[in-house]
Symmetry: C2
Subunit: 183 residues, 2 copies
DNA sequence: TCTCAACATGTCTGTTCTTACATGTCATGG
DNA sequence: CCATGACATGTAAGAACAGACATGTTGAGA
């Protein structure tokens, strides 16, 4: 359901092809809402038959660019303003934490160290990306600024998780003897 | 795929029925990996036919409690130790941020304020929950301590997002005139 | 005695999402 | 001229997931 509106939101910036949109999802966008090309193409077909988007042009290599319609723009606006945010999220990293007690202490320590590095590196990469936006490399359009806000959230979450992984390694909560001993 | 291992992990703590497991998912666990009862019951049936769990007892009200088998315990351990963590996650809150530029500035401000309250309250609730664990209300078993670690992650993420929502409201990034003006 | 809430387990349908398969175009460089 | 890689769009099968429907049990309190 969110993918539908996400595609409309991206097309609100200007016409794009399925391929373009899939590329956007494989970048920053995909880290908060993964989507593969088959889903994107089929969703675009559905949006077109619903009249929310229309074919703008057909280019070389049978490229088909879509443009958002008035109704589509109204629909994405309605979504943003009226539809309640779904706060549920799925995060395997945290889910696994509930089962840490089943792991051998050394494995767990190694696991957390690896996670810490991953989150710290991801945060650093996003910080670098944000810096280019702040320097104005991408202009100062409203879209760029919205993206900057989204990236800031990514930075903060990854930093929080890096801090968590570090805290967990040092915490005396997991340094006891009965970790790794099922039942 | 994670649900399968999550159920095994929960059953590693001791026998439980589908109803028990569904309740656990409706609590803290569901905030990092949502699962409804139909999915849980069908997954349990699949785990049973795979020999990873077995029926331990049948009680009143046709209650059926499952117990993890040796193979099941080995499988959840293998998952924790060997299977790469999938770091992708889905978070509508952040996804929407990419489209903030389509919102009316006043709507956006109100939206962010609401989000800030939501995350701050969630963090506070989790902090309260963590405090009861720290007081020892739930014993000091390895399971309880693992859960404490998981909750800590929830606290930090929600605090990070509350801070983000506050930052975004005050940021000059979104106080410009062209927000809400598509194209 | 009756009603309600909590206990308890399932099926069914439709949607979403993933993965693998399949095809064809065009530009570049060897 | 040929191979390769990036461009580009799709289908098909199946897994995962959500929501509605369906049923029956037991205990507590009005």
């Amino acid at each position: 359901m969110s993918l539908r509106h996400g595609l409309l939101g991206l097309l609100a910036e200007g016409p794009a092809s399925g391929y373009d949109l899939a590329r956007r999802f494989s970048e920053a966008l995909g880290s908060v809402w993964p989507a593969q090309h088959p889903q994107i193409y089929s969703e675009l077909a559905r949006l077109e038959s619903a009249g929310l988007i229309e074919v703008e042009s057909t280019g070389p290599r049978r490229r088909k660019a879509y443009r958002i319609t008035e109704e589509g723009l109204a629909e994405v606006r309605r979504w943003l303003a009226e539809v309640e945010v779904d706060h549920t999220f799925r995060m395997e990293t945290l889910f696994r934490a509930y089962f840490f007690w089943l792991m051998e202490p050394e494995d767990l320590k190694a696991h957390l160290a690896k996670e810490q590095v991953f989150f710290a590196e991801t945060a650093a990469a996003l910080r670098g990306y944000a810096a280019t936006k702040d320097r104005g490399d991408w202009g100062t359009s409203a879209q760029t600024r919205a993206m900057r806000i989204a990236i800031e959230a990514g930075i903060r979450i990854n930093e929080a998780l890096a801090g968590w992984a570090e805290w967990a390694q040092e915490s005396d909560i997991m340094t006891s003897e009965d970790f790794g001993t099922a039942k």
